[in-house]
């Protein structure tokens, strides 16, 4: 049974409006109320749910009804699962016809929406730390101090890392061949490698050498301005932004020259980086976020850079005495193998952490796998140790729960349609898809899955469905 609760708060002649909406919707259990989000509203929900044995609730009104807390409370009041409560948002002052149409579309969607059960998944307490350098040693020491059986080993012995959070299977190469061991969480702390230099552009110096160049020039003819250009060859990382900020602030303080940093994206999702970015702006350093490729040419005055300012949407051209390109040594092809073995995404330089603002410094695309130190582009000793301790704490926060409650709303794979093409397994950002050998089909790990539906979008056989967003539900909500 579906109950439709419509909020009429803030409307003139609310009763007449409700009446019109109710008539247009024409469902059996239709209840109007002014202020559904208040205590009276919850009481109404409780009473009506009980009386009519409502299994699913549609709450229609303003954005207040969208809040997670309210949905939870309403579900509690009605005695149903949170997934059985669905909010519908009316634009302000919507006409009865519009409101009714939106409710109808949502009702159809809600009728189709499954209610999900949950499962408790036990978390193993063994922790694997890959990397015996300062980062790995510190992380392992801290994890062990929390009381978790900790294995520390060199990163290259990892052949593969399957499974998901709380129950990883790590295949580790040893003297007598490879062995598979189970871990609840993994910390990757490889020392990283100095990478190959990025190809130098004519007339430009590498960022690492910029200070030396300016110093050399300062004795004769100090340049009045300098530009630091990032993202020239590839979309770079926060490590490159951090390095550019460090160099720019130092140059600004020492030589008082005009400084411009040109980049495609300001990447500041790292500890203290946002602050350093603000400092740089306060120090008068100009930032240009460009679109496309900048055109760089030598001019009699030095170097001229023309590009499209992505924010203002207009073409800009600046002339500087000297310009530098991305820092050398950031490109790290050597991490690729470790990334592949561990199923960890890489950034544009091939370092172990994807460019993504939602990832905390120690987080990776895999829940329960953490990364610290040079292998993710952090070279500052103090920061590395702090990151290692943070990762250990994160491991503790995860594993101390002992078990996870997992809603079984993950994608389901139709074994008749799945042809094991591996597309979902390759394209899942979280490594949640795997082969279910018994049924020769792909399968999703509910605890590793984040319910994004990318696999559904990719599957060429239309074998995967994310139940809450099945095509028929989506089409119903679109008014089909």
């Amino acid at each position: 049974m579906i109950g439709v609760f419509v909020c009429s708060c803030g409307r003139r002649s609310a009763d007449a409006w409700l009446e019109k909406v109710g008539a247009a919707v024409a469902v059996k259990h239709f209840f109007g109320h002014a202020g559904l989000c208040g205590p009276d509203g919850l009481r109404l929900i409780r009473e009506k749910s009980k009386k009519h044995k409502l299994g699913r609730l549609l709450l229609a009104g303003c954005a207040a009804l969208q809040s997670e807390a309210l949905i939870k409370n309403a579900a509690k009041a009605a005695g149903v699962a949170s997934g059985a409560v669905f909010p519908v948002l009316f634009p302000r002052r919507s006409s009865p016809a519009v409101a009714a149409r939106m409710i109808r579309q949502a009702t159809t969607g809600l009728q189709l929406l499954p209610v999900f059960e949950s499962r408790r998944v036990a978390l193993r307490n063994e922790v694997l730390v890959l990397g015996g350098g300062p980062a790995g040693t510190e992380a392992a020491r801290q994890v062990a101090a929390f009381g978790y059986p900790t294995t520390i080993t060199e990163p290259h012995v990892l052949e593969s890392l399957t499974g998901g959070v709380g129950n990883f299977s790590a295949r580790l190469r040893g003297e007598g061949g490879a062995a598979t061991r189970a871990f609840g969480a993994v910390v990757i702390a490889s020392d990283g490698t100095a990478g190959a230099a990025s190809s130098a552009f004519r007339g430009l110096v590498p960022l690492a050498d910029l200070e030396g160049h300016i110093e050399g020039l300062a004795r004769r003819d100090k340049p009045r301005s300098a530009a630091l250009i990032l993202d020239l060859e590839i979309d770079e990382t926060k490590a490159s932004t951090a390095e550019a900020l460090r160099v720019a602030l130092a140059l600004r303080a020492r030589y008082r020259i005009e400084l411009t940093i040109l980049l495609r994206h300001v990447r500041v999702s790292s500890l203290g980086l946002e602050k350093r970015y603000d400092e740089a702006r306060e120090a008068g350093i100009t930032f240009v976020k460009y679109d496309g490729a900048p055109r760089i040419a030598a001019s009699p005055e030095g170097i001229s850079i023309a590009c499209t300012d992505g924010v203002a949407g207009e073409d800009v051209e600046i002339s500087v005495g000297i310009a530098a390109v991305s820092p050398h040594g950031l490109h790290a092809p050597a991490e690729r193998a470790l990334g592949e073995a561990a199923g960890i995404g890489l950034d544009g330089y091939g370092r172990l952490q994807e460019n993504n603002i939602h990832l905390l410094p120690d987080q990776t695309n895999r829940l329960g796998v953490f990364v610290v130190g040079p292998c993710r582009g952090e070279f500052d000793g103090e920061t590395i140790l702090r990151d290692a301790r943070a990762a250990a704490l994160a491991v503790h926060q995860l594993l101390s729960q002992k078990e996870l409650e997992v809603e079984l709303s993950h994608p389901v794979v139709d074994g008749d349609k799945c042809v094991l093409c591996l597309t979902c397994i390759r394209s899942c950002p979280f490594k949640a898809m795997r082969i279910f050998a018994e049924e020769t089909r792909a399968d999703c790990s509910p605890e590793a899955c984040r319910r994004c539906g990318i696999c559904v979008g990719e599957c060429p056989a239309k074998a995967i469905e994310l139940p809450a967003y099945a095509d028929r539900i989506v089409l119903a909500r679109a008014g089909e």
Binding site: K417, V419, C421, L422, T423, R426, S427, C459, P460, A461, K462, A463
Partner: protein, 223 residues
Amino acid sequence: MITAVRKPFAEIAGMLEGSGKVLILGCGTCVTVCMAGGEKEVAILASTLRLANQKDGREMQIAEATIERQCDREFFDSVRDAVVQADVVLSLACGVGVQFLGEVFPDKAVLPGLDTKFYGAAVEQGVWAERCSGCGTCVIGEYGGVCPVTRCSKSLLNGPCGGSQKGKCEVDPQNIDCGWQLIYDRMKALGQLDRLEAVKPIKDWSTGRHGGPGKIVKEEALL
């Protein structure tokens, strides 16, 4: 696996010109894996056709179905009615499937929706590359596991031509590795370069396509 790509839409639309009831029939094996003719591609093509028909005011009924394989008779049973009802069946299977569909339904007009390309492997997600030409007498063992017939643009059996540069084939240096560079590197790694020094005789091509349409009879499998 057999690889294929979908035909240009204009060609498909041209073939279907004047058809009243069309069944688009996908194949759930090779061409699903290479993303050319599975259920999803069937739906995309069907929608594209319907949109084009809406625009141009054409009356055409388009039905969609996908079966496990179009190279085995039994799998057609589930779509028999749909095939019978259609005026024409556009098969999104490889060339094998299209023809076999026609053999199973001799009265039905069948059309190919794909261009079948080669026997290939997924070298990475979204990229398939040719690895076998089906010559009928495999010589890979003599070349360190790399097939000269397929991987060399000229199928040379005795060494590279002059067009091998920096590991690439001059026919398309961006996309084609020199097969002979691959063979050389592999044989060197295996310590078997001396095996490449003997002059290989002219190949017997009659075991493959050049011997006419192939047929395999496995005696003990016959019922």
